[in-house]
């Protein structure tokens, strides 16, 4: 088992902003397009350091997405980040046609994703963004598990990926645990815990609870493999199929609607290649609501305890 050192609590949006800033120091083609919530999505550092490369577009996300496409046509590396409900969903058609159909290298940040946005409530909690963006051709979709990984994913998006990239991040400070030496390879999942009885595939904020769940399960004599699916698209079929073959059942966990999310993406791979029993943890066809992030995570079952409970249930199905 990997024993991660908890470095503290830090929001993935902050890691995203740090990645943009670091990348901008390396390459002056990076430009940022703002939509009024610059600090909120971790880009105030960039705006201060490089005011000449920061372009405020106001509260007008559809235009901002198109403007980003225009910058990319002129050889710039544009970053457009706002809340995921606005970047992935309000500007959905601009993302589809101006960015993805043209296969332009635009880095799109979807911040404040998931129920853990907290008190702002349903309007600002993106729970459908992955379902939409992963259906778009040409795009790469990252959903990093902590701030350290968010920074690495962002640098990869800026300099390794050639087409459109969507990076999902959250608002809440969450455990920052991956070592800075852990390499981020786009499309290559990370097995955080080898196990033989079942596989838990998690993404984003749910990876840490999945690791915690594996400890609970371990105390019950259950060996759970934990996989960090940080790239939703292109999906790492090889690791998923191996997990199905070697552990015989798969539990997914995500802070997103069950319809069309990461669990669905995993299921698409499993049913086509190596069908095994699956359970999925996520938001079950409802909107979010106001509350403290931890209260909401508990209410919607996005906790280590609930992952462990579902794992035990899944194991019964497997063994029957």
């Amino acid at each position: 088992m990997n024993h991660f050192q908890l470095k503290g609590l830090k929001a993935t949006r902050t890691g995203f902003g740090e990645g943009v800033l670091e990348g901008s120091r390396k390459n002056n083609n990076v430009v940022v397009i703002g939509a009024d919530i610059t600090a909120s999505v971790g880009l105030d550092g960039f705006a201060k350091a490089f005011p000449e490369r920061f372009f405020s577009m106001g509260i007008a996300e559809q235009n901002a997405m198109g403007v980003a496409a225009g910058f990319a046509l002129e050889g710039k590396i544009p970053v457009f980040a706002t809340y995921a409900v606005f970047s992935a969903l309000r500007a959905a058609d601009q993302l589809r046609i101006s960015v993805c159909y043209n296969n332009l290298h635009v880095v799109i940040g979807g911040a404040h994703a998931g129920i853990s946005v907290g008190p702002d409530g349903a309007t600002h909690q993106a729970l459908e963004d992955l379902a939409y963006v992963r259906a778009l051709p040409n795009i790469t979709v990252f959903s990093p598990c902590d701030a350290t990984q968010a920074c690495k994913a962002t640098l990869s998006a800026l300099f390794e990926i050639k087409g459109p990239v969507y990076i999902r991040s959250g608002r809440e400070a969450v455990p920052d645990f991956t070592p800075s030496t852990l390499e981020f390879i786009p499309g290559k999942t990370q097995v955080f815990n080898e196990g033989t009885d079942l596989s838990i595939i998690a993404t984003g904020h749910l990876v840490w609870p999945a690791i915690e769940a594996s400890k609970i399960l371990s105390s019950q004599g259950i060996s759970a493999r934990v996989i960090n699916l940080h790239t939703i698209k292109p999906i790492d079929e090889e690791t998923i199929i191996r997990a199905a073959r070697e552990t015989g059942c798969i539990l997914t966990a995500e802070e997103h609607q069950l319809h069309g999310g990461m669990g669905s993406a995993v299921a698409e791979v499993v049913v086509k290649n190596y069908p095994v029993p699956m359970e999925m943890i996520g938001i079950d066809d409802s909107f979010g609501e106001s509350g403290q992030p931890d209260e909401l995570m508990k209410k919607f079952g996005l906790t280590a305890e609930n992952i462990a409970l579902n794992a035990a249930h899944l194991l019964k199905r497997k063994n029957n």
Binding site: M57, A60, N63, G66, G70, L73, E74, D93, Q94, I97
Partner: protein, 274 residues
């Protein structure tokens, strides 16, 4: 690239004929707007734009962004006449495997397309980004963006217009095809656009109105635009849908229709005899 008015008129005539031929062959597509814009396209590609059909990726070229993607037939016909690809290829319009997609799609490899577009309301935003990019690089390439008048009902157009005004994008030129018609009928009935000049002015643009089917006037207007401005500029070009074919001129039912082969023959005959 200076061409005499008479020469330009002849090119426009041929562009129209090939629009009709390609649409008749395709069996579907947008004839009305394409014919109405033949003069504007001729003016742009044979008298205004800096471009090189033998080197479509020449960095020094002006950029032409077609926001109103459904007039692809006149765009393609113009590109072919300008030497980007053989005229005969126009007859593959809308067919499986063709580089001439129903709405421009760059990934199919047709030279001369800057942007895959056609979902209305997006081209001006991309043009704003391009203009800002040129400015950041210290370049003075111009960006021309062609919009339909019905398209102006899309709110995103006004987001882009606001941004262009905010950033004083004086190398950005928008052209509005003001034919007054859209699929359901008159623009003023479907959703009123007037007072259009004042709307653009209020968003910080310099506005010019002209007869978009009068080659002399177009030549004069674009000559004046070249002198520059401190603001983004918009030309509201009043055109007649279906221009050149009396049987369909001003008839909104020809917005999204292709001629039959028999109709195409009659239409072409009329254009040849003008």
């Amino acid at each position: 690239m200076e061409n005499s008015i008479e020469h330009l008129r002849n090119i426009a005539r041929s562009i129209r004929i090939w629009v009709i031929k390609s649409l008749a062959e395709a069996g579907s597509g947008h004839l009305g707007g394409s014919l109405g814009l033949a003069d504007v396209f001729t003016m742009l590609y044979f008298n205004v734009l800096k471009h090189d059909s033998q080197n479509p990726a020449w960095p020094g070229r002006d950029r032409f962004i077609l926001s109103i993607g459904h007039v692809a037939p006149v765009f393609y016909s113009t590109l072919a006449h300008a030497g980007y690809f053989p005229l005969e290829e126009l007859l593959t319009l809308r067919k499986l495997g063709s580089r001439l997609q129903g709405h421009p799609g760059k990934e199919h490899g047709l030279p001369g397309i800057e942007l895959s577009a056609g979902s209305l309301g997006q081209g001006l935003s991309v043009s704003v980004g391009l203009s800002l990019g040129f400015r950041l690089d210290g370049l003075d390439n111009k960006v021309y963006c062609l919009l339909g008048d019905g398209e102006l009902q899309e709110g995103s157009v006004w987001e882009a217009a606001m941004a262009a005004g905010h950033y004083h994008l004086n190398h950005l030129i928008a052209i509005v095809d003001r034919n007054g018609l859209q699929i359901d009928g008159s623009t003023e009935k479907v959703m009123r656009l007037e007072p259009l000049r004042q709307k653009w002015e209020a968003f910080g643009w310099e506005v010019t109105e002209c007869d978009g089917n009068n080659m002399e006037e177009l030549s004069f207007i674009f000559g004046k635009l070249a002198q520059g401005s401190s603001k983004p500029q918009v030309v509201i070009a009043k055109t007649v849908m279906g221009k050149g074919v009396s049987a369909i001129e001003g008839d909104y039912r020809w917005h999204g229709k292709a001629p039959t082969r028999a109709e195409a023959e009659r239409f072409i005959e009329e254009i040849l005899n003008i």
